[in-house]
Symmetry: C2
Amino acid sequence: MAALFVALIHYPVVDRNGRIVTSAITSLDLHDIARSSRTYGATAFFVVHPVPDQREFAGRVLEHWRTGYGRQFDSRRQEALDLIRVVTNLDDALVEAERIAGARPLVVYTSARASTGIAYAEMRARLEREDAAPVMLLFGTGFGMAPAMLERADLALAPVLGPGGYNHLSVRAAAGIILDRLRGH
Amino acid sequence: MAALFVALIHYPVVDRNGRIVTSAITSLDLHDIARSSRTYGATAFFVVHPVPDQREFAGRVLEHWRTGYGRQFDSRRQEALDLIRVVTNLDDALVEAERIAGARPLVVYTSARASTGIAYAEMRARLEREDAAPVMLLFGTGFGMAPAMLERADLALAPVLGPGGYNHLSVRAAAGIILDRLRGH
């Protein structure tokens, strides 16, 4: 199976009015997406933020769970949080992923608003090939990634849909669902 | 399609040591599971808690989003939160669901620790039948529902698994993934 990486993007993302902003790190995003990443066999989960104070905040959250009370409380959570790498931008995530996996990952964009994109079954089959390149899935915070991030991607996944037109999922749920579609048993 | 209901159980659940406890309501559970419920066409999302103060807390969270700032901030979130019914226990949820759907729902237990359970494809096919009874999916908070809740259920779903043995998902992610497996497109 291809190595799978997850990246949570906090900049550039859009707010509800479509303005480009930097979103704040949400502690529960780190926990939930780390646990989903571990469940579906991701190699690392990159938390991508350009602001040093925010990266330090993420570091403190991780430290709490790596040591002392948090570790005693739930060691399985620690196994998940060990996947997290806090980095400044996507390029740094790609360099680190290439170092780990031995090849540069294919960058795959996800969006609830995508009008088109590769089907999940096709992406899943690609990941299952022995010789497949590593893949890095990008997830946007706020109201989704800015259009500039799509230009950084090699591929876009189709939006996740239910039976109706509403698909305003949280990034925590969307990441879990997409990982399940690509790697669930 | 059968009417689908979601219930988030805060009592009886277990803590990390397997002791039976009442868990606190987490605001983000309400948001995330409401958004997933809306996306996958659930008819209502029951937040089940025996403690009046906790039910009032949930009511205040909803009120914030039904009026004023929250509503202006994100009207799509409001559409999701409108699905929430805060109730005292599972019986009250079942009575209300029966009133809405016209028939008593089949109660379906979910657990990461289940050793067996009905397959997702089978449950999905059942939901798609025209004449199928309504279904209520139970999700546990804390470290999962107490064994007593399994005795209340008509069926249990198989655990959600990835490629490895780790499946310690957050309830927010698990609810999204299970709804996607049953109703995703």
